[in-house]
């Protein structure tokens, strides 16, 4: 049976615009793998739409892009879309990745308690730097690439059938390479503390040997 992939891509500030554009291509990767894809873009990344799609379509893989807190991930215009102990049961039997701040701290383990297969994300703030001159072309931003390519590698590795653990290792390897690369360039050395911060807080809960 065909696997399916749902992604939320709010776009209401620089941060969400960058995350949205950097992960847009994962939809093509999923389609090429024969997966059904559901793209909740801009205004469609709202609580009502997310809840409805999760109930009706039951996607195997979910990627939340956006802001977040320890127990919440948000959608367009910061609307909370998944909240621990409120509607996290909708994540049951799914592999989840949240490219957002802090949600892997409480929402991650809570959703696994409610039956999610795995929940990957960041246990503290996800920090990235970007070039103001590339604001209209985020995927051409080489500074942002250091921070946003590893999460994309994680998503694509999952889509290609790797386990959560193997996908994490690939993303972490790229993060480590970017730290080493930045240490060798004086103009990028300032970025290292932020690259390291994201690596330190990237984490997964649940069955790490699971795959699509």
């Amino acid at each position: 049976m065909n696997k399916s992939y749902l992604i939320t891509r709010p776009e209401h500030d620089d941060t969400t615009y960058y995350l949205s554009k950097w992960n847009e291509n994962t939809l093509d990767v999923a389609k090429r793998k024969g997966m059904k894809t559901f793209d909740l873009h801009q205004e469609k990344a709202n609580k009502s739409e997310v809840e409805s799609r999760l109930k009706k379509l039951n996607p195997d893989l979910i990627v939340f892009n956006g802001h977040g807190s320890e127990d919440t991930v948000t959608g367009h215009q910061q609307e909370p879309i998944i909240i621990a102990d409120k509607n996290d049961d909708l994540l049951k039997s799914k592999i989840i990745f949240a490219l957002s701040c802090k949600s892997a701290k409480v929402l991650g383990p809570k959703s696994v308690e409610k039956g999610a297969i795995s929940y990957s994300g960041f246990s503290d703030d996800f920090v990235f730097l970007y070039d103001q001159n590339k604001i209209t072309r985020p995927t051409e931003d080489k500074t942002a690439k250091l921070f946003l390519e590893p999460p994309k590698i994680f998503i694509e590795a999952l889509i290609k059938g790797n386990t959560v653990l193997e996908s994490s290792k690939r993303a972490e390897k790229k993060m480590e390479e970017n730290i080493v690369k930045s240490l060798g360039h004086p103009e990028d050395a300032n970025l290292v503390r932020f690259l390291w911060w994201d690596l330190k807080h990237f984490t997964s809960h649940g069955d790490l040997n699971a795959s699509l």
Binding site: G68, D125, F128, T143, N190, F194, W197
Partner: protein, 68 residues
Amino acid sequence: MTDREKISKEIKQLVLVRLETLPSDKKISIGYYGDFEKADLINHVEKEDEVGKKIIEIEIEFLRNFKK
């Protein structure tokens, strides 16, 4: 001034020096705190408000682990 206060002051100065060397065309996204230009960040660190404290926290954690 206690040793702890001295260290805090020195780390704050270190963070400010680091931020001064950041290219002016770069912005930083710190989750729900928002997106900041270099001058904004320096201001937040000087005031030691919530955003400033976050930047200082990242630096302290980084320095702690750098040796390891």
